[in-house]
Symmetry: C2
Subunit: 247 residues, 2 copies
DNA sequence: CGTTGGATTGATATCTGTCAAGCCCGGTGG
DNA sequence: CCACCGGGCTTGACAGATATCAATCCAACG
């Protein structure tokens, strides 16, 4: 468990959206220079979250939307009987914090999987901006829409697929997200522990481990702990029914 | 399968938001009278969708957000290999259409489970309104947030629960939604077929049927086809781990 | 009143979870 | 430098839940 009150070091963002390599994935996409300047003025600071600390917890007031700059964050629903469901993994360029839109307080926990930097966009400043910047409203809606689509796809994964298919689908997704960020689409590090990934994919850790082993035996990937190398993307997509589920 | 191009009869809404019994569940919640008037002016018409026809289909342009006035709608992802995943059931007072926020076209199908009436709020009129009505922006965000929370809860259901627990959770949810709409929370009609419900809950139809039977044997509910009577809400909540998962 | 599609029930196969043991790697301290 | 943990991960054996296949059953409807 991380600290309940994580120490956060913060300062004005060192990297402006302008110079941020992630801006094409993030909220700024499609904004003009002038609009971007106004958005940036509303971005308070960059927050550093140490591995295992929380960006926010359930019931925290909805103070801001965050953009991941580096590192990785998981969101997760916890129940009082000790069960939990991982809701998503957030990588650089992803926006996080929409779980609080309905009730003005967060409805899940957001925890850093590794040391992580996020930009903070305060809700009050954001609300003001939305009044005058139609493009920002659209950008926000687009981001919320992406979140909804992601969750729809996850419902399909949990509702219809068997374990091997789920893992294949997940690996392809991570691969594509890495590619969009300019990293290798065939070789990468998973930021999360087996425990978290198994939970996210709705299976036991042991089952997940077996599926990794099976993919390796079939020469589709190599696994060395969290380091994944996709050897045969076509076969992987076949297992994931990739072409069926995306057309 | 319904028609690909359903016939829609439409007219200006017969019931204004003011007089609509659902306004407390719907977008108008929290708006002042003047704001409400402006919103209403943007509501184009009431659309009638015949059972099995589609309100919209995947890839349709995002023309509007819809509010269900009566009837019921399911949303559903279809894959080219013939599988599908039901994403949600929408009852009177619910807003539908957020799946298109990211890409300006719909990413799932929305089909009427019975003859259904919806209000149509055109996106362009809505975008204009959002510029000047901060309260409407907030209302929209709240509705989107509700959708996200609903999906989070569904991920928990599919990821962590076993079949009986899923059904119990679903029945409690329907019961609460009925109650919020002024209907009985213990006796109600399910608008969807077993096939759809089983798909939604990520199990085989036969398993769902067995779970219904088991709940009936244990005198927790009575089932007569789609008519459900909850005899013992406490036991049902116990099965659903209701208190664990909602605190 | 027969047809048809949905729903239930039964028998069986399969997948996945559970329990248990062992492995591997990184960290720690002697 | 090496031995010794400890936690995360993997593997194996087994049990149990759920899917699948098949056979009714039932209700709505023409």
């Amino acid at each position: 468990m991380g600290n309940l009150s994580p120490l956060r070091s913060s300062k004005k963002a060192a990297v402006a959206c302008n110079n941020c390599s992630l801006s094409e994935l993030c909220l700024p996409r499609g904004l003009t220079q002038e609009e971007l300047n106004r958005l940036e003025a509303a971005i308070e600071k960059t927050i550093k979250i140490t591995k295992k600390d929380y960006l926010y917890r359930r019931d925290d007031a909805h103070q801001a939307i965050y953009a991941v700059k580096s590192g990785a964050i998981k969101t997760c629903l916890s129940t009082s009987d000790g069960e939990e469901q991982i809701l998503g993994f957030y990588l650089p360029g992803d926006l996080i914090g929409f779980d609080a839109l309905a009730h003005n307080h967060h409805t899940c926990d957001a925890q850093a999987l590794e040391d992580t930097l996020v930009c903070e966009l305060k809700m009050d400043a954001f609300q003001d901006l939305c009044g005058s910047l139609a493009s920002l409203r659209l950008g926000m809606m687009r981001q919320v829409g992406i979140e909804i689509e992601r969750e729809h796809h996850m419902l399909l994964t949990l509702g219809q697929m068997r374990t091997e298919e789920r893992l294949a689908t997940f690996l392809i997704g991570i691969s594509e997200r890495n590619q969009a960020r300019g990293f290798s689409r065939k070789e990468f590090y998973l930021p999360m522990a087996r425990h978290d990934l198994a939970n996210y994919l709705g299976m036991a850790v042991e089952t997940l481990s077996r599926m990794f082993s099976r993919l390796q035996e079939d020469n589709i990937i190599t696994v060395r702990h969290r380091l994944i190398d996709i050897l045969d993307m076509d076969k992987l997509k076949e297992l994931a029914h990739y072409n069926c589920r995306n057309t």
